[in-house]
Symmetry: C2
Subunit: 344 residues, 2 copies
DNA sequence: CTGAAAGCGCTTACAG
DNA sequence: CTGAAAGCGCTTACAG
């Protein structure tokens, strides 16, 4: 603290008082000009706004927030950034929120410190709402939010408790889609490359896939032991899955990044051609999936719609409008590329 | 505004006053407990701190900032998020800043609106410092910051004006490293796959590379017309460069993501084997570069060091400590993998 | 060492 | 329609 004022070169900020003085008005009047629904003469408002624009004044949202109890901050909590799916979501969501005149405060949950502790400092800024971008986050963070009455919406994570908000892809349905696709093409021995075992995306995709396999009288699919959603994990799991003599003819990977690792393992470790010797499917449809070298058959998450829903929900909650809790499950669609084929 | 209080379910926040009342002290005393260098009896401080922890009180940094003129917010401005290099930097930087008790306010500059406008709303929160993660950002944003006296540090971008702060890889030296490496291995006809022409990374890498080629009496390298740093751009550029009859024996790509696109083009469009028919090099050493399917020879940016320097610099500036302006150019190192070979 | 008071930059009843 | 005053949650000289 002591050094905060060590070198007072900071330009002193323009305040309402300055404006009021320069315009010969009271601060109240000046303040009112910035609120559409305030009672103020149109010419007065215009005068204020014009002058403000000229000298580059804008009300300090921090001071404003003290009174209105609204910070216009939305907290964005992320953790698993290795999945290329997230940076894209993060930036697009941020753009949308910014366009609605909210600012995003980012917290990256590092395993080094407790989730709750890290969210606590975010909470001290009184965000109007926080959105969790996280398959991976436990509910500790959400609980901390709820304790201070801050609404939270989960992106890409279901299974949070009853009265919270979530928007996800319909992962279970996606899993079924994949089972049908593979089975329709004659596959019987199918392997599953798992991601994080406790992630709802992993659980739901597997559940749908597994259920559909049983419904269609396919032998129990063999699942790898899940660890993380990473290239390396996909590589390692596929190597094991494809090592035995009775290897699967197809692999469903819990997400694209796993699938890309799995493809490399199939080619380099097991010496198999994709899709000639083994079919491989992912989930998400990240940008890389469509690169010619991967050309991955996968299920595309309805990302535009998901972001849209999340934005609308977050904005409504930030404004304290009543919203119906629950998880919105949006349907994905299967996109066929070159990593799968029909068995003769 | 009107709807802000529509549904007053928000838990009322605990304030200093509550603490003071509950402890039978004045607010001044309570406040002092949170400052290490304030004069206050040790037992009093402990009593306050203990009680605060119990009931989950922490001072509101917004109100605090009004007085101290320090928001403990650092602005993080990003734009080109398609390059996987950035998400990594972004999250690691954020973690470091959080660990130092600063919070990150993220602004994603979208091409839809003006840079200055988008930074303006960040500035209204009075960040103590802003760091620009951007090869791509113009100086408009930086100018806006300077106008209100907010210090800015550029990450991965040099060539900002004289009295600003920047930390980058020594890109020019990296370009020379690559020229030497290729020339030492017998390459004479070398192509350059350019990224964004106005990005300092692109310019500096090319400059060093080009200069070194001339110094060593290699024929003028042929450069593609740069557009963006993307897989697609690398793909398109390499296809053109490798199409002619007198094609280059090696390609230096301005970054890894371009290089990966270039490799795919070489293989699929030109029918060339890498490195047998053409050697390919990138720059950055993003995670993907080391995947077995790419195994890209590249120059690794000293990312740990860069992040460290940026953190230290940003923190110092946030505290208004005097810092020496200028750009810190940190040496990268060449990492050899499987996309290059010696010419016989 | 502690407390009463002023003030940070705003907004918002309350009078006029 | 406008202004004077109170107050949001804090910090910090200033007395004591």
């Amino acid at each position: 603290m002591s050094d905060t004022r060590a070198d007072p070169v900071r330009t002193p900020r323009i305040t309402v008082k300055d404006l009021a003085r320069q315009l010969g008005m009271s601060v109240s009047t000046v303040s009112r000009a910035f609120y559409d629904d305030a009672v103020i003469a149109p010419e007065t408002r215009e005068k204020v706004l014009r002058h403000a624009a000229e000298i580059g004044y804008q009300p300090n949202p921090l001071a404003r927030g003290l009174i209105t109890k609204s910070s216009r901050i939305v907290g964005l909590v992320v953790s698993d950034i290795t999945n290329p799916f997230y940076p894209e979501v993060m930036t697009r969501l941020t753009e949308r929120l910014q366009a609605a005149d909210f600012n995003v405060m980012l917290v990256v949950v590092s395993p080094a410190r407790s989730e709750e502790e890290q969210v606590r400092v975010l909470l001290s800024y009184h965000p109007d709402v926080v959105v969790m971008l996280a398959t991976t986050l436990s509910s500790a963070a959400a609980t901390a939010c709820r304790k201070v009455g801050t609404p939270v919406v989960f992106f890409n994570r279901s299974g949070s408790d009853e009265h919270s908000y979530a928007v996800t892809c319909d992962n279970e349905r996606g899993g079924r889609l994949i089972a049908d696709y593979l089975i329709d093409r004659g596959h019987r021995r199918i392997g599953f490359v798992a991601g994080r075992p406790d992630a709802s995306t992993n659980v739901d995709r597997w559940r749908g896939f597994h259920a559909r396999c049983l419904e269609r009288d396919i032998p129990e699919p063999i699942a790898s032991e899940g660890t993380t959603f990473s290239y390396e994990a996909g590589y390692a799991a596929a190597r094991r899955l494809l090592a035995g003599p009775d290897r699967p003819t197809a692999l469903f990977c819990a997400n694209d990044i796993l699938a890309i690792g799995a493809m490399d393992a199939a080619r380099r470790e097991a010496g198999l051609a994709v899709p000639e010797d083994v079919s491989i499917m992912g989930f998400d449809d990240i940008g890389m999936a469509s690169w010619p070298s991967h050309a991955l058959t996968t299920v595309r998450q309805p990302i535009d719609l998901m972001i849209d829903r999340t934005t609308v929900l977050a904005l409504a909650l930030a404004r304290n409008e009543p919203c119906e809790p629950g998880v919105q499950r949006l349907p994905g669609r299967l996109v066929e590329r070159n990593t799968t084929r029909s068995l003769p």
